[in-house]
Symmetry: C2
Subunit: 279 residues, 2 copies
Amino acid sequence: MTSTTEFDQATSLIRADDSALHHAELRDDWRFGAGIHGGVLMALAGRALSEDLGAQGSGHRDPISVSAHFLSRSLPGPATVRTEILRHGRTVSSGMAFIRQGDQERVRVVATFGDLADKATADPARVFSAPPSMPPPEKCVGTDLAPPELLKESPLLQRVDLRLDPDCVGWAVGMPSGRGAVQGWLRFLDDREPDPMMLLFAVDCLPPVSLDLGIPGWAPTLELTTHIRRLPAPGWLRLKHSTSLVDNDRMEEDAEVWDSAGRLVAQSRQLTRLGRPDS
Amino acid sequence: MTSTTEFDQATSLIRADDSALHHAELRDDWRFGAGIHGGVLMALAGRALSEDLGAQGSGHRDPISVSAHFLSRSLPGPATVRTEILRHGRTVSSGMAFIRQGDQERVRVVATFGDLADKATADPARVFSAPPSMPPPEKCVGTDLAPPELLKESPLLQRVDLRLDPDCVGWAVGMPSGRGAVQGWLRFLDDREPDPMMLLFAVDCLPPVSLDLGIPGWAPTLELTTHIRRLPAPGWLRLKHSTSLVDNDRMEEDAEVWDSAGRLVAQSRQLTRLGRPDS
């Protein structure tokens, strides 16, 4: 039934005659503000690379590390995803992908894939982080409480059930905590369960920590690298964003994704713009 | 005089007739163990992109975010660096580079460049980290105290003055701290001062934190992304490595580089292999 979920529809590909070229449709449903959500683009590139790297019999269908540089704003409409296989190895394989719309390149991706099946239940050797501590989803702040204009201009928010820790939403009423931390719960509203492709999307779903620092406005991503460390268990994901250094025009933001079994399943770091129009 | 330093010699390029192709020589002097040090390769790719992105009059000569996926081991000898310009923007420009030796690709890089001059002395909006606290360089453990066989098989150690915090070197005598932290001081032995290209090198200079966790052996890099946040001041750099999640076969490792003026000038995150032969 997976293929009928909204997320799988949004990231579905049709292979062209040229076998390294895939056609996609960027759906307005997954727009956040002026552009298609970056996490959907990561998942699209991830799915194309999974097919093309895995097709060689390597079994390397799971993203291990995915680096994306965002070049221009993706808009609703047709797009292509082209892949290039860089190397097949014993334990991992690497490839490149780029997403274009017309003559504009949107995202350039380099990625390393492997097989996470042996990690499904493996205990890590050492973990030096902890899942976000917050009230259960029913006591958190749902996106249905977002301002009507944000909901209207961001149809993506109708696809996800995102519940923010009440301690991290003071910025929404003009009282940012100043801690530079945002955390919350995430699932798809149609109950599509987590997998590595959803994790590529999930790392970019929380509001930017700059809001919690009292810096208003969007924080469009320049570069985002995600490590997928485990196959996630079914159920809610817990997300946590933090930062080490914020400038007036750029910010680094780290995300952790924890699954319902209490395991750290994905980590990401991104560099964003701040306080400037897109250019 | 910069062009005569060892590091600048090691990362020098000769442009081919095909203007996007550069010839380089990977010098045995910069080998660490079986292969050329990854930080030198990052700096080589960074220098090629700086020339080719900056040549367009954009002034975008400084690396802002550089993502590298390591495909095969680089060996002493000739190499080529090919670049592709992806996008010129108002505040940043992006490009791709790949390093080859013969018919083998070594490293694939995607990067975003800009102009860090306006950040030379700018105060960040917020910093949520602190420089590593450790004794001064003269009270730290120099690499001249490394085992003779390591010094012999890693000529790179004759190029750098690396002084490790004595609290983080117990692993060298069979007593790892278990904290998963390594920190130290770095400068070039020929006094070549820090710049963004040195920072691309510096983020990968400390021993892997896996050693401090009692996990022996190399930790070859699969993927490494570096953000350069400031032009560094002259003098010693302070380096700090940490991790959030270590598996038996893979580890994420974060690096911070602080300059002599006490500013966080570079951040990186990498995913490494652990405990397996290169493949």
